[in-house]
C-alpha cells in the first residue's frame, strides 16, 4: 500500500541509502554542526548583561534555553534549495522527475539522513557545554522530551516546506535562490536563535508571532528547556503554517515541473 507514493520498502531504502551517503560527508557535517555555535556566543553576552533580568529566564533557565535553541537548530537545518540547484545544474533533476516518487521525498530522506549523521556531533557539543556549565544540566521528562521532539520536527517541516516553495520558484527564475538568503536574515533575528522572544519589545513580539519564525526555534526550544509555554497555541500555530504551506508547495511544484518539461530543459 502506498501513502503519498511511499510504502515501507521505499522508506527503508531511501533512508538507508541517504544515511550511508551522508556518512561519507561526516567530516563536513561535524564542522557544520560546530558552525552552529552562535547561540552559545549570544548566551555568554546575555548572561552578563544588564538586560538579562527582563528575559524571564533566571538562573540556569537561560543556559538551558540557549542550549535547547542550539539543538533545535541542529535538527531543523534545511538546505533543499541548494541541493535542488545543484541537481538542476548537474542534470540529475530530469531522471528524478521521471520516477514515480515525488522528488521532494528524496530531499526529505536526505535531510533525515543528515540529521542522523549530525546527532553524535550535536550530542558531543552539548556534552562539552554541560562540562563547562555543570549546574545547567537537566534531564527533561519523557513527556516533555517527546513534545519537544514533535515540536522540532514540526519546525523542520515548516522550514522544509518554506524552502521547497523557494526551490519551486527556481523553475521560473535563477535568482529565486537569493530569496533564501534574504529570508534567512529575519529568521536569524526573529526566531529566538540570538535572543529569546521575551527580550523583544511587545510591539515587535506581536508582529513576530504572525511570522513562522518564532515557531522554528523559540517555541520548540522552550518546550525542550521545560519552560512554561502555551502548548496548544504553539502547536496550533505550527500546524497552521504547515497546512498553509503544504498545498502551496504542491501546486507550485507541479506547475514548475510542467513548465520545466514544456521548456524541454
Amino acid at each position: 500500500m502506498r501513502v503519498f507514493g511511499l510504502n515501507r520498502r521505499i522508506i527503508r531504502v531511501l533512508l538507508g541509502s541517504q544515511y550511508a551517503h551522508m556518512l561519507e560527508y561526516r567530516a563536513e557535517i561535524a564542522l557544520w554542526a560546530l558552525s552552529g555555535v552562535l547561540p552559545f556566543i549570544m548566551l555568554s553576552v546575555w548572561s552578563g548583561s544588564d538586560a538579562r533580568s527582563g528575559l524571564g529566564l533566571d538562573g540556569s533557565a537561560l543556559d538551558r534555553y540557549f542550549l535547547s535553541a542550539f539543538l533545535v537548530r541542529q535538527f531543523s537545518v534545511v538546505w533543499v534549495v541548494y541541493a535542488f540547484e545543484e541537481d538542476a545544474l548537474l542534470g540529475r533533476l530530469s531522471p528524478y522527475l521521471l520516477q514515480p516518487l515525488h522528488p521532494l521525498w528524496r530531499y526529505v530522506a536526505a535531510h533525515l539522513g543528515e540529521q542522523l549523521t549530525r546527532l553524535p556531533f550535536a550530542a558531543l557539543i552539548a556534552a562539552v557545554f554541560f562540562a563547562v556549565q555543570p549546574q545547567a544540566f537537566w534531564v527533561p521528562s519523557l513527556g516533555g522530551f517527546l513534545l519537544a521532539w514533535l515540536a522540532t520536527w514540526m519546525a523542520f517541516a515548516i522550514a522544509f516546506l518554506f524552502q521547497s516553495l523557494i526551490a519551486a520558484l527556481c523553475f521560473w527564475s535563477e535568482k529565486a535562490s537569493a530569496l533564501e538568503r534574504l529570508q534567512f536574515i529575519p529568521f536569524l533575528f526573529l526566531s529566538g536563535l540570538l535572543a529569546p522572544l521575551t527580550a523583544f519589545p511587545p510591539a515587535v513580539r506581536a508582529v513576530a508571532q504572525w511570522t513562522p519564525f518564532p515557531y522554528l526555534i523559540d517555541f520548540p526550544a522552550r518546550v525542550l528547556a521545560g519552560q512554561p509555554v502555551d502548548l496548544l497555541a504553539g502547536f496550533g500555530a505550527q500546524l497552521a503554517w504547515i497546512v498553509l504551506l503544504l498545498p502551496l508547495v504542491l501546486l507550485l511544484w507541479r506547475a514548475g515541473v510542467r513548465r520545466y518539461s514544456a521548456m524541454g530543459a
Binding site: L31, I41, V45, G48, R181, A195, A199
Partner: protein
C-alpha cells in the same frame, strides 16, 4: 613592483567587469546588507534600556564596535570570500597549476585576484556607523588617533585575512574547506559586541587564540582614548605574526603540492 601594481589594477578591472555581468546580484546584495544591519542594530538595542550598559559600554560606544564589525564583514564580502573561496576550486579543478606557472607570487595572485564590489556599501555603512557612534560617544578626533585607528584597521584586516587564508590553504590536503570557513565566520561573529560583554575566559580566547578583540574592541578603545600603547603594539605584533604564519604555511603547502599532488 610596478608589474605587481599594474597586475593588481588589471585584476580588479576584470573583477568589476564580471560583476557588471550580474547586475541583479548587486541589488540583492544591497537589500541583504540593509536588512542585516537593521537586524543587528535591533538585536543590539535589546541589550539597552534606561541606565543599562553592555559590559560597561554605552549604546553609542557599542555602536562603534558594531560599525567596526560591519566594516570587517564588508571586507570579507568584498575581498576575502571571493578570493580565498576560489582556492578550493583551483585545487579541485587543477587550475592551480596555471597560477603556479605564472611568473608572479602565487599567494599574491590567489589573495587579490578578484574583488566583489557588492560588499563596498557594507564597508561604507560600517564606517558611517562608526562615525555616528564616535560622534555620539563624544569622541574628539585627533590626527594621531585617526592614524592609529587606520593602522589598527589594517592590522585587523591582516589578522582576518591570515586566519582565513590559513584555513583556505588546507584545501591542498582536504579538498572541502568551505565548512571550516563557516566555523571561523561563526566565531568571528563574537566581534559584534565589546570584549567586556563576555565572561573572562572567553575574553582571553578572543584576545589571544582567535584575536577578534583586535578587530573591533581595540580600535574602538583607541578612538575613545582608552587603549594603552602595549595593546596597540600587541595588535600589530599579532598581525605580523599571523601573516608570517600564513605565508610560511602556504610555502609549506606548496612544497607538499609539488611533491605529491596531481
Amino acid at each position: 613592483m610596478g608589474r605587481y601594481w599594474r597586475t593588481l589594477r588589471r585584476f580588479w578591472g576584470t573583477a568589476v567587469a564580471v560583476q557588471l555581468e550580474y547586475q541583479a546580484n548587486v541589488l540583492i546584495e544591497l537589500l541583504a546588507v540593509a536588512m542585516s544591519l537593521s537586524g543587528s542594530l535591533f538585536l543590539l538595542s535589546l541589550f539597552y534600556g534606561p541606565d543599562q550598559t553592555l559590559g560597561g559600554w554605552s549604546w553609542a560606544q557599542a555602536l562603534m564596535v558594531q560599525g567596526l564589525y560591519t566594516v570587517f564583514d564588508g571586507m570579507a564580502t568584498t575581498w576575502l570570500r571571493p578570493n580565498l573561496g576560489a582556492i578550493v576550486t583551483h585545487v579541485r579543478e587543477g587550475t592551480l597549476d596555471f597560477v603556479l606557472l605564472k611568473p608572479i607570487d602565487s599567494q599574491f595572485w590567489l589573495s587579490l585576484r578578484t574583488l566583489s564590489p557588492a560588499g563596498l556599501p557594507e564597508i561604507g555603512l560600517g564606517l558611517g556607523l562608526l562615525a555616528w557612534g564616535s560622534h555620539q560617544a563624544g569622541v574628539v578626533l585627533t590626527l594621531s588617533s585617526l592614524l592609529t585607528v587606520l593602522v589598527m584597521l589594517l592590522a585587523g584586516g591582516l589578522i582576518l585575512y591570515s586566519l582565513w587564508f590559513l584555513i583556505a590553504a588546507t584545501s591542498i590536503w582536504f579538498v572541502k574547506t568551505w565548512n571550516a570557513t563557516e566555523v571561523l565566520r561563526a566565531l568571528l561573529a563574537s566581534g559584534r559586541y565589546p570584549l567586556n560583554a563576555y565572561p573572562p575566559a572567553l575574553r582571553l580566547l578572543f584576545t589571544l587564540v582567535l584575536p577578534v578583540a583586535f578587530l573591533t574592541t581595540v580600535p574602538a578603545q583607541v578612538l575613545l582614548g582608552e587603549a594603552a600603547a602595549p595593546m596597540l603594539l600587541a595588535g600589530l605584533g599579532l598581525a605580523v605574526l599571523f601573516f608570517a604564519a600564513a605565508r610560511a604555511f602556504w610555502l609549506f603547502a606548496l612544497r607538499f603540492y609539488t611533491s605529491a599532488s596531481s
